[in-house]
C-alpha cells in the first residue's frame, strides 16, 4: 500500500486514557446503582437546553439526579418544536454525554508518512498550532483557501471565526447533500424557501402526500407528532415509496413506485388535476403565473403514460389526484427534506411546488402556514473583511441557483485534479463526519490527502478525525452555553441552551475554541466577550428578557405580527420576478434551465443488481448516534431489506450475512444481515444510513453493519444547485467475505 502523508489514524495507539472498555451489556454507570431511589421530578434540578441530536433542535429540560449527575431529558411544554415531547434520540441524548469513547483531549498528528500517530497535547499548544497555521496559509494562499465544513449549533461559532478570518468558503452538508434543491425549487416557485422546521400545517391537513419521505422513521419531531394528530382526525395519507414504510402502513394509499420515476407520477398528477379541474381555480387565477403554459406542457403526461414508467396504475393515479383535489386547499404534498436523489432534484421539487400551488395549499390552513421568526439583536462585532474570492469562483457560472455554498465544490477545489486558480488548501471540519456524509468517498479522501492542513472539531472520534492533523474535543450540548435557538414557526420563539454539567475530561465549548483561536490570529475583536453568557445576557436584555429569566423558562414565545394564513381579499405579493407564484419560471430560463419540469429517464439496475435505497431509523441521526449507548441499544445494526423473490433467487434467508458491491465495483467494508421482507420492491434493497463505522475507537458501533455512503460512488449532480444525487447506485450481494483477512482499514 502506498503511504501518504495523511494516513488514516486510529487514534487508539496513544490516547491510553480511554482505551479500556467494559462490554456494553454490563456497563452500569456508578451513579445508576439500582438501589438508589428514583428522583422526584418536582424536586429534581433541571436546566434548559435545546436538543442537538438533530437539526430539529427541540427545547427541553435536562434533569439531574440526587448526585447532580445528568439523569434524563424531557421536552419543554412551551416549545412548538417539541410540544414537551422529545423523540427517542433526544431522550437518549444523555448517552452522548456519558459516552466514554468521546474525544477527551486535543490530539496532534506526529511522525513521518507511514509511521504516524496521534499524541495528546495541551489546549494551549493546539490553539497556537492552529493559529500559526491559519496565519501561514492566509499569508501563502490567502484566507479564502482555508475552508470550513460545519454543522449544527457550534458550527455557527466556527462560521463567525472564518468570516472574521476572511474566508466565506463555509459549507455544510445540510445544503448540497440534503435540502438544497428543495429550498431553491420553493424559492423559484413561491419566492420563499422552506427552512427548518418546514411550515407544514400537518395537524390540520385533510390529505398528506409523502413522496419518499418516511415520517415516523425520520423523527422530525413536530411533524411526526402532527402526523399522528392528522391520523386521529382521519386525514388521508398517500405514501409514494418503493418500500412499505411506517408511514405507508398508516396510509390509505401506498404507491410502491418504481424508483427514480417520481417525476412521471408528479407530472401525471398535475395532468389529472388540471384535466379534471381539481385545482383551486380562484387561487390559481389570482395568485399564480404561467398556468396556460403548464397546462399545455402536461397535456401528454397522462396517467396511462406514467403507468408504463412508474408501475402505478392509472386508476390509482387518478384516485389519488382526486383525493388531493377533494382536500384542497387543506392538502400538503410534502416537500421532503433529504431530496438529493437523481440529479434532477430541483426540477422534481419544482413539480412538487407546482402541485401544491395548483391545490392552493401555500398560505392556507391545513397546507403551508406562513411562519414567523423573532429577531435577535446581534452582539456587536467589527465588519468582516471582504474575501477576494468565494466558492462561486471555483467553477464560474456553475450551479447558479445555489444560494448557499456547496460542500462538494469545496471538495473539488481541494482535489488534485482541480486546475483552476481558486484552490482550497486547508479544511476545518466542525461537527460533521464528512466521510459518512459526502458521497464518493474516494474523491473526498483524495481531496483530504491533497490538503496542507486539516483540523477537526467534534465530540466523538468519527472517521474524519482519523485524517486530521489536529483534533479538538468539543463538549456536548449538555455541557455548554450556546447561541439562542431562533426559528421560524407558527409562533416566534427563542430557546436557551445552558450547561447541566461541567464538560467531561478536557472537552471545551465551540465558542471558547473559536474565541481562543481568534485572539491568536489577531481577530480577538470579533469575540470580545468573556464568556458566552455575556452575549446571551446582552441579547436577551435588548429583547426585554434576561439570562436569569430564560434559565427559568427555557423557551420564550412571542405574538405573531401577521396572520398565520392568507386572508381572503388581501392581495399577496410573492417574492418572485412576477410577484406571483411561478408555475412557469422565466428565471429558470435565464439561468439556462427548463421553465417547467420535464420527465427524464434515469438508469435502472442491470440484472443481478438492485437499487440501493437508504433511510433513517427513529433511533439514529446520521452516523453520529450509532455509538450512543442508549440508542445503540435500540438499533445496533442496519439489516438489509430484501424482497422474498430476490432472496429466493440468491438463496438468502433472514439473518444471513452479506457484503455488498456496487455497479462501479466498490465493495462494502463490512457485512450486514439480510432481512427478507415483503415490505420492499424486488428491484431495490434498503438499509438505514449511518452504519459500518470504520473507526475502532467507537467501541459499540465499529464494524457493525454496512455504510451506505461508501457504496454511493456514482453521484448525479443537480445542475441548478450542485447538490449530489445519491440514489443512483446499484448493488449486488456477496455471500463470501470479499476481504482477504478480517483486518479492515478505512
Amino acid at each position: 500500500m502506498k503511504t501518504t502523508r495523511r494516513d488514516f489514524l486510529k487514534i487508539s495507539s496513544v490516547a491510553a486514557g480511554g482505551l479500556v472498555f467494559a462490554p456494553v451489556l454490563n456497563w452500569v454507570p456508578g451513579f445508576l446503582k439500582s438501589d438508589k431511589p428514583i428522583p422526584d421530578d418536582s424536586k429534581a434540578k433541571r436546566y434548559p437546553n435545546y436538543c442537538e441530536v438533530c437539526f430539529w433542535n427541540c427545547a427541553g429540560w435536562v434533569y439531574t439526579d440526587h448526585d447532580n449527575k445528568i439523569w434524563k431529558i424531557i421536552g419543554n411544554e412551551d416549545d412548538p418544536h417539541s410540544n414537551g415531547r422529545f423523540c427517542p434520540r433526544g431522550t437518549g441524548g444523555v448517552g452522548m454525554y456519558y459516552d466514554d469513547d468521546r474525544l477527551k483531549k486535543p490530539l496532534k498528528r506526529i511522525g513521518e508518512a507511514g509511521a504516524q500517530q496521534f499524541v495528546e497535547i495541551e489546549w494551549e499548544e493546539a490553539i497556537e498550532t492552529i493559529a500559526k497555521k491559519m496565519q501561514e496559509i492566509a499569508g501563502k494562499h490567502g484566507p479564502e483557501s482555508f475552508a470550513l465544513f460545519n454543522h449544527g449549533s457550534s458550527g455557527k461559532h466556527f462560521a463567525d471565526l472564518f468570516n472574521a478570518y476572511g474566508s466565506k468558503n463555509i459549507a455544510g452538508p445540510a445544503y448540497a447533500q440534503c435540502k438544497g434543491p428543495r429550498e431553491e425549487a420553493f424559492q423559484v416557485t413561491f419566492g420563499h424557501a422552506l427552512h427548518s422546521p418546514e411550515p407544514l400545517d400537518i395537524r390540520d391537513t385533510r390529505c398528506l402526500v409523502l413522496i419518499g419521505s418516511h415520517l415516523g422513521e425520520n423523527m422530525h419531531n413536530g411533524q411526526v407528532q402532527e402526523m399522528a394528530e392528522a391520523i386521529d382526525k382521519q386525514a388521508t395519507i398517500i405514501t409514494v415509496d418503493p418500500r412499505f414504510s411506517t408511514a405507508a402502513s398508516k396510509s390509505k394509499f401506498w404507491l410502491p413506485i418504481k424508483p427514480a420515476t417520481d417525476m412521471a407520477l408528479l407530472l401525471a398528477w398535475i395532468h389529472v388535476i388540471i384535466e379534471e379541474e381539481l385545482y383551486d381555480r380562484k387561487y390559481v387565477e389570482e395568485l399564480t403565473f404561467g398556468f396556460e403554459q403548464l397546462k399545455a406542457h402536461v397535456k401528454d403526461y397522462t396517467p396511462e403514460w406514467a403507468y408504463g414508467i412508474t408501475t402505478i396504475e392509472p386508476d390509482v393515479i387518478r384516485a389519488t389526484a382526486r383525493e388531493m383535489g377533494a382536500a384542497s386547499p387543506a392538502v400538503i404534498v410534502h416537500p421532503g427534506r433529504h431530496v438529493t436523489w437523481y440529479g434532477d432534484d430541483t426540477q422534481r421539487l419544482r413539480a412538487v411546488a407546482i402541485l401544491n400551488a395548483l391545490l392552493g395549499s401555500w398560505g392556507r390552513r391545513g397546507g403551508f402556514y406562513l411562519p414567523e421568526k423573532a429577531k435577535l439583536p446581534k452582539y456587536p462585532t467589527p465588519e468582516n473583511p471582504k474575501p477576494t474570492w468565494t466558492w462561486r469562483d471555483v467553477m464560474p457560472g456553475q450551479y447558479p441557483l445555489a444560494s448557499l455554498p456547496v460542500t462538494n465544490v469545496l471538495v473539488d477545489a481541494s482535489h488534485p485534479s482541480y486546475l483552476g486558480k481558486h484552490k482550497v488548501k486547508a479544511w476545518m471540519v466542525a461537527g460533521t463526519n464528512l466521510i459518512a456524509t459526502m458521497p464518493d468517498l474516494k474523491r473526498t479522501i483524495e481531496a483530504i490527502q491533497n490538503l496542507e492542513y486539516l483540523v477537526v472539531i467534534d465530540t466523538m472520534p468519527a472517521e474524519i478525525t482519523g485524517y486530521a492533523d489536529i483534533v479538538l474535543p468539543e463538549c456536548t450540548y449538555l455541557e455548554r452555553y450556546d447561541m439562542m435557538r431562533i426559528s421560524e414557526h407558527r409562533i416566534p420563539t427563542f430557546a436557551l441552551r445552558m450547561p447541566a454539567a461541567e464538560p467531561r475530561w478536557e472537552s471545551k465549548p465551540g465558542w471558547w475554541i473559536c474565541k481562543q483561536i481568534a485572539s491568536k490570529i489577531g481577530k480577538g475583536d470579533y469575540f470580545k466577550y468573556e464568556k458566552y453568557e455575556d452575549v446571551l445576557d446582552f441579547q436577551l436584555k435588548e429583547m426585554g428578557s434576561s439570562l436569569e429569566e430564560m434559565k427559568k423558562a427555557g423557551v420564550k414565545t412571542f405574538h405573531r405580527k401577521e396572520d398565520l394564513y392568507f386572508v381572503e381579499g388581501h392581495p399577496h405579493v410573492f417574492d418572485t420576478p412576477t410577484g406571483k407564484i411561478e408555475l412557469y419560471s422565466n428565471l429558470m430560463i435565464e439561468n439556462g434551465f427548463d421553465p417547467l419540469p420535464k420527465y427524464i429517464t434515469h438508469a435502472q439496475p442491470e440484472a443481478g443488481f438492485y437499487r440501493l435505497i437508504y433511510g433513517r431509523t427513529p433511533a439514529h441521526t446520521f452516523s453520529r448516534t450509532t455509538n450512543n449507548a442508549n440508542l445503540n441499544d435500540l438499533f445496533r445494526e442496519n439489516p438489509l431489506w430484501v424482497h422474498p423473490k430476490t432472496a429466493r433467487e440468491w438463496g438468502l434467508k433472514t439473518g444471513d450475512k452479506v457484503w455488498l458491491k456496487n455497479h462501479q465495483g466498490v465493495v462494502s467494508h463490512f457485512s450486514t444481515k439480510v432481512r427478507v421482507t415483503e415490505r420492499i420492491r424486488h428491484d431495490s434493497v434498503y438499509m438505514a444510513h449511518g452504519f459500518g463505522r470504520t473507526d475502532e475507537r467507537l467501541t459499540r458501533s465499529f464494524g457493525i453493519g454496512i455504510s451506505d455512503t461508501e457504496l454511493i460512488s456514482d453521484v448525479k449532480i443537480d445542475k441548478e444547485t450542485g447538490s449530489t444525487g445519491m440514489r443512483s447506485n446499484f448493488v449486488t450481494f456477496l455471500k463470501e467475505n470479499p476481504h482477504n483477512s478480517d483486518k479492515k482499514e478505512a
Binding site: V28, L32, S34, I38, N630, E678
Partner: protein, 177 residues
C-alpha cells in the same frame, strides 16, 4: 381503582421513545429494557399491513408471576400494579418463566425486574414515563374503573385487542386497532 393502559396502534410509529424514556427514568441498565416495540407484518406485496405495538408487563388481573413467586417479592399493589421488591427477590426466575409476555428479566444485580407502570410517578399524579414522552400521543394511562378517565373512554369507544388472551391472565393493556 384499576390502572391500565390503551395504546393506539394506528398512531404508534414504533420510534421506541417509550423504551429510552423508561430506561433513563428508571435507570434500567444498558442492554436491558422493560418495554419494547413489536411489529407484525401481514399480507403479500403490495397488499400489506403493519401493526406496531409498544409492549411491556400487562399488569394482569390474574397474575401467574405473583402466584409462582416463592417469597412474595412479586406482589400486587393499589390499582392492580404488579411490583417486585428487589430485597425480597431470590432470583429464582420462576416468575420470568411464568409470564406469557416475556416481560420480566433478571437485573444484573440478581433480582427479577420489569415495568412498574412508574408507580413512583403515578402516585404523584404523573403518567408513566413512556406515556408522558410519546411523541405521537398514542398511549393513554389511567383508572379503567373511572368511566370518565381518558383511558376508560377510549377503550369504550374504540375497537381493541389484548395480547395472548388465551393465557387467561386478563391483561390490562389494550391495543387499539
Amino acid at each position: 381503582m384499576r390502572y391500565g393502559m390503551a395504546i393506539d396502534t394506528k398512531k404508534c410509529v414504533g420510534c421506541a421513545d417509550c423504551v429510552v424514556a423508561c430506561q433513563t427514568e428508571n435507570s434500567v441498565p444498558h442492554g436491558y429494557a422493560r418495554d419494547w416495540i413489536a411489529e407484525t407484518v401481514s399480507g403479500r406485496y403490495p397488499y400489506l399491513e403493519l401493526e406496531i405495538r409498544s409492549e411491556r408487563c400487562n399488569h394482569c388481573d390474574n397474575t401467574p408471576c405473583v402466584r409462582t413467586c416463592p417469597t412474595g417479592a412479586s406482589h400486587v399493589i393499589e390499582g392492580g400494579i404488579v411490583i417486585v421488591t428487589p430485597e425480597e427477590c431470590i432470583g429464582c426466575g420462576a416468575c420470568i418463566e411464568s409470564c406469557p409476555y416475556d416481560a420480566r428479566f433478571t437485573h444484573p444485580d440478581g433480582y427479577a425486574t420489569k415495568c412498574t407502570f412508574c408507580d413512583h410517578r403515578v402516585k404523584n399524579g404523573q403518567d408513566p414515563a413512556c406515556v408522558s414522552v410519546c411523541p405521537t400521543h398514542c398511549m393513554y394511562f389511567g383508572d379503567l374503573d373511572d368511566p370518565n378517565s381518558e383511558v376508560a373512554k377510549i377503550v369504550a369507544r374504540r375497537k381493541w385487542k389484548v395480547l395472548a388472551p388465551e393465557a387467561g391472565t386478563q391483561p390490562q393493556i389494550y391495543y387499539l386497532v
